[in-house]
């Protein structure tokens, strides 16, 4: 309710005109959806094999939390989650493959950082897994907090940010520690398993995977503390805002479905719901999917064929998987975590 003076109002008109012009420009660039549709499949960049996130079985079938995001986008676009071609990429190749147009979407346990968005001209769409550095110790130590690790011997991989974070954390909390650094993960883990260290530190998702390889996995616990930020998520090439929105909202649909109690099993029931939030998500009210170039039932396709976030999480990295990682930070915001999707309305 500001009163504009005349020159200011003129300025405002100019700004609006510029925005409109840009808007036109952006939609002219919105080619990716058409390219993907014309081709008949989605090309998704994934890891070369990371159980729980993106991994191919002996028949070449890909699964994982990151793979589910590829499947969700394919479900939204084609109503068929199998219309995906997976391209395994190593850490060095991944962003270049996005830049060159070799892949439409990168869903490969990649940490969202400022320099990556700027340097590689890409946009992260969301955070589908909040990872971060944690600690594994022997159960027999009887400790339940990282703050109780004073005077520990810690095994860590050298030359990593993990090593730097370790030092920072102990110093910041006035704790003493003896560092035992090794050049690779296997050696670091072996040293811990042999009893050379009391503590092993790495990203939490890796701790759960690495615990499985110890001689007696059940004798070890992973502390609940997370001491660094490793937000992992899907990325797309910059410049096509519609494509960015499709990836972003495909993920948000899975989160919102969980929050509203909609699963792959009760989706038909949800179609008959009278709750406004549910009606907007399943498309029985409004035409939200159409606004981003999809259909009204875009979210139904995802939920029915891929599931909500909880279903995907538990199946791939949670209690339904070998990893058994507790939801922790990845719980919904109203259930003890920080996963939060903007509303559909």
């Amino acid at each position: 309710m500001l009163n504009f003076s005349l020159p200011l109002a003129r300025g405002a008109v100019a700004v609006v005109a510029t925005i409109v012009a840009f808007g036109t420009c952006t939609s002219a660039d919105a080619q990716m959806l058409k390219t993907v549709k014309d081709r008949g499949n989605l090309i998704c960049g994934v890891s070369t094999g990371l159980p729980g996130f993106s991994n191919a079985d002996d028949k070449g079938v890909w699964s994982g939390l990151d793979v589910d995001l590829c499947r969700a986008v394919a479900a939204a676009v084609f109503n068929d989650p199998t219309k995906v071609k997976y391209v395994p990429l190593n850490a060095e190749q991944r962003f270049k493959a996005l830049q060159s147009g070799e892949i439409d979407l990168l869903s490969r346990n990649s940490t969202w950082t400022m320099s990556r968005e700027a340097e590689f001209n890409l946009s992260f769409a969301a955070v589908n897994y909040y990872d971060g550095q944690g600690f594994m110790i022997r159960k027999s130590a009887g400790k339940d907090s990282a703050l109780a690790l004073d005077n520990s011997k810690v095994c860590v991989q050298s030359g990593t940010t993990t090593q730097l974070n370790l030092g920072d954390y102990f110093r910041a909390n006035n704790m003493k520690f003896q560092e035992m650094a090794f050049s690779n993960v296997a050696e670091t883990l072996k040293a811990y398993d042999s009893g050379a260290c009391d503590v092993f530190t790495s990203d939490v998702s890796q701790l759960y995977a690495e615990r499985l390889t110890l001689s007696t996995p059940n004798d070890h616990v992973i502390l609940p503390d997370v001491i660094s930020k490793e937000p992992l998520g899907p990325a797309v090439k910059q410049g096509d805002s519609q494509w960015l929105e499709i990836v972003k909202w495909s993920y948000f649909a899975m989160l919102n479905a969980e929050e509203l109690g909609i699963t792959s099993k009760n989706i038909d029931e949800a179609l008959k719901s009278q709750k406004p939030d549910v009606k907007r998500l399943v498309g029985s009210e409004g035409a939200y999917g159409e606004q981003i170039g999809l259909t009204k039932d875009w979210a139904v396709r995802i939920i029915r064929q891929v599931g909500n976030y909880a279903e995907s999480y538990e199946r791939n990295v949670g209690t339904g998987s070998k990893l058994g990682i507790p939801r922790g930070l990845n719980h919904l915001w109203n259930e003890g975590g920080i996963q939060y999707a903007p509303p559909i309305r």
């Binding site: 609940p224 503390d225 109690g261 922790g328 259930e335 003890g336």
Partner: protein, 200 residues
């Protein structure tokens, strides 16, 4: 809260099923068709599946430390510790139709509680004892904590294999080692928040 107030008007109905599961068929696969087994002395050395074992987890909440939060759909009971963490226990919960949500307080605590099945229950399951003194074979297990003036409680069990299942009539059951641990940590007056998956 609204939903819970409505439930307060139904204690007479609920009393029929109070505390104990009855032998009926259930639609959900994780529900168990299992009756009470008074007199069964549980093997306390059997380990729960990893996710249902007592453990410290990351848990952010605006509830103060000392609050109990039950996530019915996950089969977890959290005891808030502050500093973004909570102790998590595996529980068994009410089967479909016997689940509720809201805020209550612990009004009473009892060690090795006696069991007196209500008349309605005796009528349906005549083989049940009229009274059973507290002890290792008692279906209420080692400890019970009573919630408000309702028929609900958090108690032990002599059926450790039901942890993680939806079998009870609205009570929360835990293995005896866990209920003893929790009992020692919370006083009468403790806030208990019960959460449900939202209905569609």
């Amino acid at each position: 809260m609204l939903r819970f107030r409505r439930l307060l008007w139904m204690p007479l109905l609920a009393v029929m099923f109070i505390v104990l599961p009855t032998a009926q068929g259930f639609s959900q696969s994780e529900d168990m068709n299992i009756g009470d087994e008074p007199g069964r002395v549980p093997d306390e050395s059997v380990q729960l599946p990893p996710q249902f074992q007592r453990q410290m987890v990351l848990y952010r909440t605006t509830e103060p430390p000392g609050t109990i939060i039950v996530h019915t759909s996950e089969r977890f009971l959290y005891l808030v510790q502050g500093n973004g963490r909570a102790i998590r226990y595996g529980v068994r919960v009410g089967r479909e139709g016997f689940q509720w949500q809201g805020l209550l307080k612990i009004t009473r605590k009892a060690e090795w509680p006696d069991w007196t099945p209500p008349p309605e229950m005796i009528q349906r399951q005549p083989y049940l004892p009229r009274f059973m003194a507290g002890g290792p074979g008692n279906p209420l297990g080692a400890r019970a904590m009573y919630l408000g003036t309702t028929v609900y409680r958090i108690h032990g069990t002599n059926q450790p294999d039901t942890i993680g299942k939806a079998v009870s009539s609205g009570c929360f059951g835990m293995v005896n080692a866990d209920i003893i641990d929790l009992y020692g940590r919370v006083p009468v007056g403790t806030k208990v928040v019960v959460k449900q998956r939202p209905s569609i």
